[in-house]
Amino acid sequence: MLIINNLKASIGGKSILKGISLNVKPGEIHAIMGPNGSGKSTLAAVLAGREFVEITEGTVTYLGKNLLEMAPEDRAKEGIFLGFQYPIEIPGVSMVNFMKTAVNEHRKHKGLDPLSASDFLKLMRDKKELVEIDSKLANRSVNEGFSGGEKKKNEIFQMAMLEPKLAILDETDSGLDIDALRIVANGVNKLKRPDNSFIVITHYQRLLDYIVPDVVHVLYDGRIVKTAGKELALELEEKGYDWIKKEIENNVVS
C-alpha cells in the first residue's frame, strides 16, 4: 500500500529525515516510536503533504502512485488521513459544514452524488456513536474551545467519517487520560479492516496496550534504527531509548 524508499527531508535547510524506508501492506498496523526530535512528526507531515518540509531525496509510492506529487487534498481523497498531534481550532467554521464539505468532496472524487442533508446527519450520528463522542461537539466550531481529549476524539471521529485506506495518527495518545485513550484506541480497532492500514506514531508504549501493532519501528535521528514485532514496544517501555542509542553508537564504532 505504502512504500517509502530512502526518504530524506529537511526543514529550513536542517536535515531531519536521513533516509527512511518503510513498507506498509494492507491490513497492517505499524507503530513508529522514538524519542523526541527523532523525526516522527516530520514523517507524518511529509506523508500528508505539508509544504514547509523539503524533500531532498527518495520516493514515496502510495497505491502505485507517486505520493509526493499529489496535493494534500488529493492525498486525502485517495484515502490518506492524518490525525494531528495538535488539531487546529477554526472559529466560525462549524463541524457540520466542515464534515459535509469534506465527505462530499470525497464522494465527488469517487463519482458519487453528494449526500442528502438527512443521510449526512444520519452518517454523523452513526459515526459519533461509533467513536463515543459527545454529540454536542458536532454543533460547535471546529475544535474551538475543545479540551485536549475532545480534540483527539474529534480526530478519530473525522477518521470514521472519511473511512481512509491509510490513517497516520501522529501522537494521538499524547495528553490523553486513560478513558480518552481507550475511546481513541477503540475507535481505531473498530475501523480496522483487512484492506486498510494504520501508522501509529507514539512516544509511549501505553497506546499499544490497546492497539496491537503488527510491526514496531524505532525512529532515531532521522533513521529507522530498529524494526521488530510488537514485543519491541514492551522492551522500549522497560528499558527506555538509551540502549538503542548505545547500540547505534557501538555499531558506528565497530
Partner: protein, 452 residues
C-alpha cells in the same frame, strides 16, 4: 482660529446658503441648537488627518467636492422610495424608509404600534412629543473634537424617531432603510433619536443603500437612550456603491443594568466611517460592540469605537474584523475609557484583520485609558494572512485549497455575524458574505448601480 481649511469653508458657506430654508421646515426646538452647533463646527472644522481620531482616514476626497445642493425633498421624490422593498422576505419587521435622510411625506408622519410604541419622523416627533423629545435630543451626541457631529446638529432636519415606553417588548424589529437617490452629486445629513425606556426590549436594523450612481456624502447622527434594565440591539448593514461616502455617528447612552449590542456589517461602500460611542452611564450596564467589513478595490472602511465606563461594575466587549482585498484600506480605533470611580470594570477588545493582497493596508489602534484600580481589561489586534495551519487542516480532509480559503474567510466573518440574534437576517448576512467572498454579486437586487 484663523486660516480655516478651504474644505471647511465650503461647508460654512453651505450652512449660510441653506440655513433659512432648513429652519423653515424644522421644528422650533431643533432650530434652537443650530447657531451654537454651527459655531462649534466652525471652530473644529471638517476633521483632517491631524485630528487623532481621523489619523488613518482621509475625508478630503469626498468632502472636497462641490455638491450642487443641500438636499431638501419635494413630495414626488418619495414615490420611488415607497416602491422599495427589502429583499429579505422572511424578515418580519416594522419598516421605515428614509429617502436622503427624510421621512416620507406621503402618509402619516408618525405611526403608533402595539404597546404605545411610536415610530416616524424626527421632526414631527419634536412637535408632537415635546416632553420626551426635549428630554433626550442633543443630550448624547457630544464631541469636543469631531466637527462632523456639530455640522449634523447645525443642519440636519429629519430622520427617524422611535419611542418604546417603559416595560414594552417589541417582538418584531424595526427596520430603517436609508435610501440615497439623486440626479446630482449630493451631500445629505440625517438625525435619528431612539428612546428605549426602563425595562423595554427591542432591536433595530438599519440598512444603507444607494439607488443611483451619483457621488454621495452622508453624515448621520443617531442618539439612543437605553433606560434602566432595558435591552437594545442595533444592527447596521451597509451596501453602497463605490462612489458613496457614509459617515455614521451612533451615541448609545445606557442606564443601570441595561444591555445593548451594536453590529456594523459593511459589505460595500466607497468610504465608510462608523463611529460608535457607548456610554455606560449606570452600574451593571453591559455593551457589546461588533463590526465586520469586506473591502476591495479602492474602498476605505473605518470603525471608530469609544466605550466610556463611567460607572462601576459595567462590562464591555468589542469585536471588529476586516477582510481586505485588492488595494483597499481600513482602520480601527477602539478606545476604552475607564473613569476613576468605575471599579469592577470588565472591558475587552479584539480586532482581527485579513489582508488578501500585498497592496491592502490596515491600521489598528487600541486605546486604553484606565483610571480605576479594580479593572479587568484586555485587548488584542492582528493583521495577517489566512492561517496556514488551518488551511492545511482543511485540505488534509480533502477540501481543495480554493474552497478551504473560502471556508476560512467565511468562518472568520461568521464570528461577527453569529452575534446577530435575528435569524433570517443572520442567514441573509451569511449568504451575502459568502457571495461577496466568492466574488459573486452580493448587492441587493434592488440596487441599479453597477459598481464594476
Amino acid at each position: 482660529m484663523n486660516g480655516k481649511s478651504e474644505i471647511t469653508e465650503k461647508y460654512l458657506g453651505l450652512y449660510k446658503d441653506n440655513i433659512d430654508k432648513i429652519s423653515s421646515i424644522s421644528s422650533p426646538f431643533i432650530n434652537t441648537f443650530r447657531a451654537s452647533s454651527f459655531e462649534k463646527f466652525s471652530e473644529l472644522g471638517i476633521p483632517s488627518r491631524k485630528n487623532e481620531a481621523y489619523k488613518y482616514t482621509n475625508l478630503d476626497i469626498f468632502f472636497n467636492h462641490d455638491y450642487e445642493n443641500y438636499f431638501m425633498p419635494v413630495p414626488s421624490d418619495f414615490i420611488k422610495a415607497e416602491k422599495f422593498r427589502c429583499e429579505v422576505t422572511d424578515l418580519d419587521t416594522h419598516g421605515v424608509v428614509l429617502l436622503n435622510g427624510f421621512y416620507p411625506t406621503l402618509n402619516e408622519k408618525l405611526r403608533q404600534l402595539p404597546g404605545g410604541v411610536w415610530i416616524g419622523s424626527l421632526n414631527e416627533a419634536a412637535i408632537k412629543f415635546p416632553d420626551k423629545f426635549e428630554q433626550h435630543f442633543g443630550k448624547y451626541a457630544k464631541s469636543e473634537t469631531d466637527g462632523l457631529i456639530h455640522l449634523n446638529t447645525a443642519m440636519a432636519s429629519d430622520g427617524v424617531f422611535i419611542y418604546i415606553p417603559e416595560g414594552v417588548t417589541l417582538t418584531k424589529p424595526v427596520q430603517v432603510v436609508n435610501l440615497v437617490q439623486s440626479d446630482d452629486d449630493m451631500f445629505n445629513q440625517h438625525r435619528n433619536l431612539i428612546i428605549a425606556e426602563k425595562n423595554s426590549n427591542f432591536s433595530i436594523i438599519i440598512c444603507d443603500h444607494t439607488l443611483s450612481p451619483q457621488k454621495f456624502l452622508t453624515n448621520a447622527v443617531t442618539e439612543v437612550f437605553v433606560g434602566e434594565n432595558a435591552h437594545f440591539d442595533i444592527i447596521r448593514v451597509q451596501n453602497e456603491h463605490n462612489n458613496a461616502c457614509k459617515i455614521t455617528n451612533t451615541f448609545i447612552h445606557q442606564e443601570k443594568n441595561s444591555v445593548t449590542s451594536s453590529n456594523n456589517i459593511t459589505l460595500h461602500g466607497g468610504l465608510i466611517r462608523n463611529s460608535t460611542y457607548h456610554h455606560l452611564g449606570g452600574e451593571g450596564a453591559e455593551s457589546y460592540s461588533y463590526g465586520l467589513f469586506l473591502a476591495d478595490k479602492w474602498q476605505h472602511i473605518d470603525n471608530f469605537v469609544n466605550v466610556d465606563h463611567a460607572f462601576p461594575h459595567c462590562t464591555s466587549n468589542q469585536l471588529f474584523k476586516g477582510v481586505l482585498d485588492d488595494m483597499s484600506t481600513g482602520a480601527f480605533n477602539g478606545r476604552i475609557f475607564v473613569r476613576p470611580d468605575a471599579q469592577g470594570t470588565l472591558a475587552y477588545q479584539r480586532n482581527n484583520n485579513i489582508l488578501l493582497t500585498d497592496d491592502a493596508k490596515m491600521d489598528t489602534k487600541p486605546q486604553l485609558e484606565i483610571y480605576a484600580d479594580d479593572v479587568k481589561c484586555s485587548h488584542g489586534a492582528t493583521i495577517g494572512q489566512l492561517n496556514d495551519d488551518a488551511l492545511f487542516y482543511l485540505q488534509s480532509r480533502g477540501i481543495n485549497k480554493h474552497e478551504a480559503r473560502l471556508m476560512l474567510m467565511f468562518g472568520f466573518a461568521h464570528e461577527v455575524i453569529q452575534n446577530i440574534k435575528i435569524e433570517p437576517l443572520r442567514e441573509r448576512m451569511d449568504n451575502l458574505v459568502m457571495q461577496r467572498l466568492k466574488g459573486e454579486l452580493s448587492r441587493c437586487a434592488s440596487c441599479m448601480v453597477k459598481c464594476g
